[in-house]
């Protein structure tokens, strides 16, 4: 009996303390992971809310280039004015898409937020295509390129799997 009191009981107590400590640490670790995940999700939403208006601003600045072409060529060279209008319309589509995605991300409905964040890689793809086209055409787009690097960091780990082909 003395043996049980002096050895087994303390051993049981110590082991239970150790077990509970382990559980507590694991629970804290899980809580930390959840908190990190939540923080990551929130911060991506916030990052996009901060970044997309800058993107729209840079695209609008480019609009000015094409609008100036329309204004100067309208009378002298209608075909060149038409081509500038095509370029401007192209930019307007991308701006409108970016604005729509921003509106979704700024909504209070979690479904819309999720759709907005999920659409961000498609906007990034459009921006990259535009930069490629502008480079080929010899049109300066430095600010768009600089922003594209930040955009890449924000969107790089948003999952974007392909749908199976029919």
């Amino acid at each position: 009996m003395n043996f049980i009191k002096s050895f087994i009981y303390p051993a049981l107590i110590l082991s239970s303390v150790g077990y509970s400590t382990t559980l507590t640490l694991e629970a804290e670790s899980d809580g930390q992971q959840l908190s990190n995940k939540r923080q990551k999700f929130v911060s991506r939403q916030e990052l996009l809310i901060n970044h997309l208006p800058l993107q729209i601003e840079a695209l609008r600045a480019l609009q000015g280039t094409f609008q100036a072409n329309i204004d100067t060529q309208r009378e002298q060279n209608p075909l060149e004015a038409f081509k500038a209008a095509c370029s401007l319309a192209n930019l307007q589509t991308l701006i409108a898409s970016t604005q729509d995605v921003l509106n979704c991300i700024q909504a209070e409905d979690p479904t819309r937020i999720s759709i907005g964040i999920g659409a961000a890689p498609a906007i990034k793809q459009g921006i990259d295509q535009l930069i490629g086209h502008l480079d080929t055409a010899g049109i300066d787009c430095y600010s768009l390129k600089r922003l594209a690097e930040d955009f890449q960091k924000i969107t790089r780990d948003i999952p974007n799997p392909d749908f199976p082909v029919d």
Binding site: P78, Q92, T93, L94, A119, A122, N160, F163, P164
Partner: protein, 240 residues
């Protein structure tokens, strides 16, 4: 009296589908043709034909076959004789697979402009986004909504796509066209339910618009000129 009543019913049945979504301003027709290698396609059916005869005459001889799904043709029909078509093929071969981000963008664009989307589709899309994978439920919802068929895919890419500066839908114009035909030639089955093509969007004030017609009209609107006479032709080996 009975005769007039039945005539009215027939007329109502014919026109209601066409005009139900707003003022029609995008003419289209659907051909059912059989692609035989080395032989011209046989036209067996045309659903709606309501654009000028010159366009039809020029277009009918050039129904595409094989793996060239899209042609954009720019023409000028207000001058006589008509200018020849500029032909371009922005997509060669079947369209690349649709991805989750493109679907999200398509839905975001429609949501932002008040287009009603099935709640189940929205819920399935949010669930797929959260999981980072394409779920069978999402695929099923999108198929039911017609978002995953090739015609829809091509139209989405044309409507939301980014094209090189100075081009209209990827075609560099040699003149200001007054007629534009987008020809989607699919070697597989295509849906007859293509009313989306025949109407401009409800959100005409939105830059860029929502439909292919909006996209075509945009540069003309910026210049303040007349809108082009445009058409989308979808031809396929089999209609469903």
């Amino acid at each position: 009296m009975k005769f007039f009543a039945s005539l009215w019913l027939v007329a109502f049945a014919l026109f209601n589908n066409i005009y139900s979504a707003g003022t029609p301003c995008f003419t289209y027709e659907v051909f059912d043709h059989i692609n035989v290698p080395g032989v011209g396609p046989a036209l067996t059916n045309s659903a709606i034909t309501n654009y000028p005869y010159d366009q039809i005459r020029l277009n009918h001889g050039v129904v595409l076959a094989g793996a060239t799904p899209v042609q954009v043709r720019l023409g000028r029909f207000t001058t006589i004789p008509p200018a020849s078509w500029d032909v371009d093929m922005p997509f060669v071969g079947p369209p690349p697979p649709m991805n989750l981000a493109n679907i999200n963008l398509m839905i975001a664009r429609r949501l932002a402009h008040g287009v009603v989307i099935a709640p189940a589709l929205l819920a399935n899309l949010a669930a797929a986004n959260a999981a980072g994978v394409i779920t069978p439920a999402l695929t099923s919802s999108l198929r039911a909504g017609g978002y995953l068929n090739n015609t829809s895919d091509i139209l989405n890419r044309l409507t939301l796509g980014v094209f090189p500066p100075g081009t209209i839908l990827g075609v560099l114009p040699a003149f200001i066209p007054d007629s534009i035909i987008v020809h989607v030639a699919l070697p597989q089955r295509a849906s007859k339910n293509l009313n989306e093509l025949s109407h401009s969007s409800l959100a005409t004030a939105v830059p860029g618009g929502l439909t292919l017609k909006d996209r075509i009209n945009a540069p003309y609107a910026l210049l303040g000129g007349a809108m082009p006479n445009s058409a989308t032709i979808v031809s396929s080996s089999q209609l469903q």
